[in-house]
C-alpha cells in the first residue's frame, strides 16, 4: 500500500528491520506478516483471548493491543524465543505430556503465560494458576490438563534444585 514505513524492533534477542509497514499495524500483525514469526496467534484482536501473548520488557501482554511502531526500543519475546525448535522448554514438554494440547491454537499464548506465571510465582496454588492464566481462553481442553501441566513443572523444578530453578525466558 501507499503509506509504508521502515523501523526496527528488538525481537527474541535480535534487532529486526520492519519494512513496508503501515503504521496502524499491531505488533501481532508485524510479528506474523513482516517478521515471519507465525507462532503468536490472533483469535479475537481485542485482548480477550490471550492467543497473541508475548513479553514486552518482561511483561506479559497481548500483542494485538500493542501498536508495533510504538514498540521500538522495547525487548520483545515471542513463543519462538522460548526454546530452540526441537528442544522444548520444561513448560512446553509438560503441556505435551499432560494432554494439555488439543487443537493447539491457544497453546503458544498459554506457554508464554505459564512461563511468566512460574517466573513470578515458582510454587503457585491452583487458584493462583487459574487467576494468572485467566487471560487465556481455551475452547478445546476445559483447562484441567493445562493446570496439571503447570503443576507438574512447578513440582519438577523444585525437585531438581531443591529451591526452584531459573526457568525464565531470557530476552
Amino acid at each position: 500500500m501507499a503509506e509504508s514505513q521502515i523501523y526496527s524492533l528488538h525481537v527474541n534477542g535480535e534487532q529486526r528491520e520492519v519494512a513496508d509497514a503501515w503504521l496502524g499495524e499491531s505488533l501481532l500483525f508485524v510479528l506474523r506478516e513482516r517478521l515471519g514469526l507465525m507462532g503468536s496467534k490472533g483469535a479475537c484482536e481485542q485482548g480477550e483471548c490471550g492467543s497473541c501473548s508475548v513479553l514486552v520488557d518482561g511483561a506479559l501482554v497481548c500483542s494485538c493491543l500493542v501498536l508495533a511502531a510504538a514498540a521500538v526500543g522495547q525487548q520483545i519475546v515471542t513463543i519462538e524465543g522460548v526454546a530452540p525448535v526441537g528442544s522444548p522448554s520444561d513448560v512446553q514438554q509438560a503441556f505435551v505430556d499432560a494432554g494439555a494440547v488439543q487443537c493447539g491454537f491457544c497453546t503458544p499464548g498459554l506457554i508464554m503465560a505459564a512461563h511468566s506465571l512460574l517466573e513470578r510465582s515458582p510454587a503457585p496454588s491452583e487458584m493462583e494458576i487459574r487467576e494468572e492464566l485467566s487471560g487465556n481462553i481455551c475452547r478445546c481442553t476445559g483447562y484441567g490438563r493445562i493446570i496439571d501441566a503447570v503443576q507438574r513443572v512447578a513440582v519438577a523444578r523444585i525437585v531438581v534444585n531443591g529451591r526452584g530453578i531459573d526457568g525464565g525466558i531470557k530476552s
Partner: protein, 283 residues
C-alpha cells in the same frame, strides 16, 4: 498515519500542541481494539508510555495523599506497595481484564476513555480524586466529578494530557465490588465503591455502569454518615437496608445487550448494602 514516541513530558506536550487532534496512546487496551476492528481510523498517534514523568508514583505521608502517574499500570496498582494506600483501587485493579490487560492498561488511559464501566473510576469518584492535566500553556487540576462529564466524555481540552491523579489516603474501610456474568475478564454490569472515612465521619459511595457517568449517591451518603457508629464499627440491619434503597434510587441505569436497567438497579443496591456491612460489620 504518523506515530510519535516522546520521551519527556515536554516533548509530549509539544507534540500534542502541534496536532491537538492527535490520539494519545497509553496501554493500547482501548485504542487498539478500535483500530484492529477498523471501526476507527486515526491520522496521528502520540504514544506516551515512555514519558518518565507519567510513570512514577509517590506517597506524601505528611499530606496523606497518594499521587499516581497516568502511566502507572493496573497491575502495579493491584499490588504492593501501592495497594496498601488505596485498597479499594487495588481491588478494582485486580478485576480489570486479564493479567495481560493489567500489565498494559494504565490509570491515565482508563481516565482518558472514561467509560461508565471503567473499573477504577468508581473508586476515584468515591475518593474525590483530583485529576491532573497539563498542556504547553500550563497545568490544572479537576475533581473527578468535574472531569467526567458524560459517557466516554471528559473535560480534557485539546492539547491537554492527563498526567496523573491524586487520591487521599483515608483512615477507614474501603472496598470495591463488581458484577459480571463470568468470573474473569468481564465488563462490569454493575459496580460500586465505598469509602468509609473514620476521621471525617463520612461514607462515600460511587456506582459504575449504573448511569451515564459514575454516580455518587449524596442522599445515601448523608443517611449513612448520620446512622452508622464509626467508633463501634456498627450499623443496624435497617440502616443497611435503607442505605441500599437510597442507592437504588440514585441509580440511573439503562437496558443494553449486557443487562437490564432493572437488574442494574437491583444489583447496585445489593452491592452497596454488602459494602456498608463490610465497612461496619456489627449489627
Amino acid at each position: 498515519m504518523s506515530v510519535i514516541i516522546p520521551t519527556s513530558l515536554h516533548s509530549a506536550l509539544q507534540a500534542l500542541a502541534d496536532s491537538p487532534e492527535a490520539t494519545v496512546l497509553a496501554g493500547g487496551t482501548d485504542l487498539m481494539v478500535e483500530l484492529n476492528s477498523g471501526h476507527r481510523q486515526v491520522a496521528s498517534v502520540i504514544a506516551v508510555s515512555r514519558v518518565p514523568e507519567l510513570c512514577s508514583w509517590s506517597h506524601d505521608a505528611v499530606a496523606g495523599l497518594l499521587n499516581i502517574g497516568a502511566g502507572i499500570s493496573y497491575d502495579e496498582i493491584a499490588r504492593e506497595p501501592i495497594a496498601q494506600w488505596v485498597p479499594a483501587l487495588a481491588q478494582a485493579a485486580r478485576t480489570v481484564g486479564s493479567p495481560q490487560i493489567r500489565h498494559a492498561a494504565t490509570i491515565g488511559g482508563n481516565l482518558g476513555t472514561c467509560s461508565p464501566a471503567g473499573d477504577g473510576l468508581p473508586v476515584l469518584a468515591a475518593l474525590d480524586a483530583m485529576i491532573h492535566l497539563a498542556s504547553l500553556t500550563g497545568v490544572r487540576t479537576l475533581s473527578f466529578a468535574d472531569f467526567m462529564v458524560g459517557p466516554k466524555r471528559t473535560a480534557r481540552l485539546p492539547g491537554e494530557l492527563i498526567t496523573g491523579v491524586t487520591v487521599p489516603v483515608v483512615r477507614g474501610w474501603q472496598g470495591y465490588s463488581k458484577v459480571g456474568v463470568r468470573n474473569a475478564m468481564v465488563i462490569a454490569v454493575a459496580s460500586a465503591a465505598l469509602v468509609a472515612d473514620s476521621d471525617a465521619g463520612t461514607v462515600r459511595v460511587a456506582l459504575g455502569s449504573a448511569g451515564p457517568t459514575i454516580l455518587r449517591c449524596p442522599e445515601a451518603e448523608a443517611f449513612a454518615a448520620a446512622h452508622v457508629d464509626f467508633a463501634a464499627g456498627s450499623a443496624a440491619d435497617s440502616v443497611v437496608d435503607q442505605f441500599a434503597g437510597l442507592v437504588r434510587t440514585a441509580a440511573r441505569p439503562i437496558d443494553d445487550h449486557r443487562s437490564s436497567a432493572a437488574y442494574r438497579r437491583h444489583a447496585v443496591g445489593v452491592l452497596a448494602g454488602r459494602l456498608l456491612r463490610r465497612a461496619f460489620p456489627h449489627g
